[in-house]
């Protein structure tokens, strides 16, 4: 072989070798230690996604509001049952997470989209002490816990299996799956039936309709909701949630599950509360000047926030929010922060 062709062949083989090395970079999967705090959602039932937010806590989305499931050695603890139309899918999603019975179901409110699946989930559950029957247990169904207001409204259906069995006037505490679970009633916020649920060891706070990262809060005036109660409840949620202080630069802090939308933390509760208070302050100022509701609506008191939390000021969620604030503003002498 002539020397020139020999060298060319060597160079060519070197080049091909290098090209092959370039074309096949070593693939490597994310390491175990790099797992994000919130895992990618899975779809355990048609239309329902399950996102694991703590080792033992999942958020189910797709059945109306967020449904929270905490699992452990004593069974499943569920917060909200979703709407009735998706109850079977929610149950299937829970079954994909655990075969243990649903022991407790906590309702954060009485709205049909939050408590519509009560009957299906309760009947698929089993209270502790079931074998005793009679006054010592509720055979065949899970315990349903709700605020007094919610219990009053929900105890009107045909099938009492879907009614709350335990009502909360101020606060009730349970020790389930090796952790404290607090249910705290928040009257006159979104409605007269609100409750929030705090999983103390998992450090997960479920807010119900008091906090909705996707939109302005819905203040259901016809069912006892009021702006001051909403602000009081948001302030209470801020106190319950703990940010990642003092090591602020590290991930951490209480996880907050809003009624709808993604998982949040205390800072987002603060942003949301501030938004509600600022809009309230604007409307109060206008109302104190004697402006009518129509005049207030036209002045666009949600300016700066409607693009994020609702539609245009003149209609949709913004108008409903403004109207509810206007109607439920307390007289100046009674106004609290």
């Amino acid at each position: 072989m002539p020397v020139g062709r020999q060298a060319l062949a060597v160079l060519l083989s070197c080049g091909l070798w290098a090209a092959a090395a370039q074309a096949a970079p070593e693939a490597h999967a994310p390491r175990e230690t790099d797992k994000p705090a919130v895992s990618a959602p899975a779809e355990p039932a048609p239309g329902i996604t399950a996102t694991r937010i703590r080792d033992d806590v999942y958020v189910l989305a797709g059945a109306g509001p967020n449904v929270v499931v905490q699992i452990g050695p004593q069974g499943a603890v569920v917060v909200d049952s979703g709407d009735a139309a998706h109850a079977d899918q929610v149950l299937a999603a829970i079954r994909s997470l655990t075969n243990d019975p649903i022991r407790y179901l906590f309702d954060t409110g009485a709205d049909p989209d939050h408590a519509g699946g009560n009957l299906v989930l309760a009947q698929a559950g089993r209270a502790f002490g079931q074998s005793l029957g009679g006054p010592f247990g509720s055979p065949g169904i899970a315990v349903i816990v709700a605020s007094e207001g919610a219990a009053m409204r929900l105890s009107q259906g045909d099938d009492s299996d879907g009614w709350p069995t335990h009502s909360v006037s101020v606060r009730s505490a349970f020790y389930l799956n090796n952790q404290g679970v607090e249910v705290i009633a928040k009257p006159a916020a979104h409605s007269d039936a609100d409750a929030v649920v705090l999983f103390r060891r998992s450090d997960v706070l479920v807010t119900g309709e008091i906090f909705d990262i996707t939109r302005f809060p819905i203040i259901d005036v016809d069912h006892g909701g009021a702006i001051q109660g909403e602000i009081d409840a948001l302030n209470a949620l801020i106190e319950l949630a703990i940010p990642n202080v003092p090591l602020t630069w590290l991930p951490g802090g209480t996880l907050v599950v809003p009624a709808h939308g993604r998982i949040c933390q205390q800072a987002e509760l603060v942003d949301y509360r501030d938004m509600v208070v600022i809009v309230r302050d604007r409307i109060k100022s206008l109302k104190d000047q004697g402006k009518t509701l129509d005049q207030v609506l036209q002045s666009d008191p949600t300016a700066g926030y409607a693009e994020r939390y609702g539609g245009k000021a003149g209609n949709g969620p913004s108008a409903a929010f403004v109207t509810a604030i206007y109607k439920t503003l307390s007289p100046a002498a009674e106004q609290k922060p």
């Binding site: 090395a21 994000p36 933390q265």
Partner: protein, 343 residues
């Protein structure tokens, strides 16, 4: 052919194979990977007043704000910063490009393959650590947490590291109350030119910006920087406001007492101070013809940087560059620089 005569060819082949091996290994990692590691200190040149010493209240110039952003920014009160629940809130990762501080970049390698798994950008006292994942992992889903750090992935484009950040929590776009929403995203290009690092950030926000905001910062590598470690600051909030808990300081529409202050100080029409996309472009100067009134004094503050003029290190590092004729012993030095307090 004798062995002696063939030696040069054997050497050549071996050299070629070694080169191929080394090149192949390097190419397998990344075609154009550049070493970005080290401490990068800011070169105080760009957006000095809004980034470092300011910004002034209601200086929204050069920001492509929409009406919603402007309405929120005009309602902003500094009193918010005194609220216990806000005292320990960090700025978002976009504060890399918005804020005044430097950072340290450190690669994290896979111990087996040697590939760069991520680039760590050190935290600062008001900004979290940012990590640029280089291993091809996807961004989290829509229901995942949004954080001050966000979630960032990167890839090399030529010699430039391009990073994409999503899942950011709401944070100020400028420290005078201009908001950046949690639906914003950011692209950052890191381009190294010798001892200099050019950072170009492109922030898009469908809620508050009418078009992308492009920011650039220049950094210089300083292997002997006074900051060699991550600058972290444990934070505990305190009651330091006279307001009752739950009061949210804010200005009602049309009631911001500082609304015209910046515009008046610099002889600008208020519309210029209130920002908008048009204020980002050089052509906007034509819109100011006839309405811009040049201030009587060319410069009455921050003229030669800002900081503690008595600090010789600060003086030599910054002031001497901007005002080389100004001596530390000059009686006007405090007026032109300050003594550590905002003027």
């Amino acid at each position: 052919m004798t062995i002696g005569k063939s030696l040069p060819w054997i050497r050549f082949v071996l050299a070629c194979l070694m080169a191929g091996l080394l090149a192949g290994a390097a190419e397998a990692r990344s075609v154009d990977e550049v070493d970005l590691s080290g401490y990068w200190e800011p070169v105080l040149m760009e957006d000095y007043q809004s980034t470092y010493v300011g910004p002034d209240a209601v200086d929204f110039t050069g920001l492509p704000l929409n009406a919603a952003a402007r309405a929120r920014a005009l309602s902003y009160s500094d009193g918010l910063l005194d609220m216990p629940e806000r005292q320990c809130m960090y700025y978002g990762t976009d504060y890399l490009a918005i804020g005044p501080f430097g950072f340290r970049m450190t690669p994290e390698s896979d111990p087996v393959s040697g590939d760069t798994v991520s680039w760590r950008i050190s935290p600062w006292i008001d900004r979290p650590e940012a990590r640029i994942w280089m291993d091809g992992r996807p961004h989290p889903g829509v229901d995942a947490l949004h954080t001050v750090a966000g979630f960032t992935t990167g890839a090399w484009q030529g010699h430039t590291l391009t990073a994409q950040t999503t899942h950011l929590r709401e944070s100020p776009l400028r420290r005078n109350g201009v908001p950046r929403s949690d639906q914003a995203s950011m692209t950052i290009h890191f381009s190294r030119h010798g001892d200099y690092l050019q950072l170009t950030a492109i922030i898009t926000d469908p809620i508050y910006l009418t078009e992308p905001l492009v920011l650039s910062r220049l950094y210089r590598q300083n292997p002997t920087a006074y900051l060699k470690n991550d600058m972290v600051y444990p934070c505990n909030s305190r009651e330091q406001s006279a307001d009752a808990r739950g009061v949210v300081p804010n200005y009602l529409p049309g009631k911001n007492p500082l609304e015209t202050q910046f515009a008046q100080r610099y002889g600008l029409p208020l519309t210029a101070a209130l920002g908008g996309a048009q204020t980002m472009y050089p052509e906007y100067r034509h819109a100011l013809e006839g309405v811009y009134k040049r201030p009587d004094k060319m410069c009455d503050r921050y003229c030669c940087a800002w900081g503690d003029a008595r600090n010789p290190d600060y003086y030599n590092r910054y002031v001497a560059l901007k005002c080389p004729g100004l001596k530390r012993s000059s009686p006007e030095v405090i007026d032109l620089i300050g003594n550590g307090a905002t003027q």
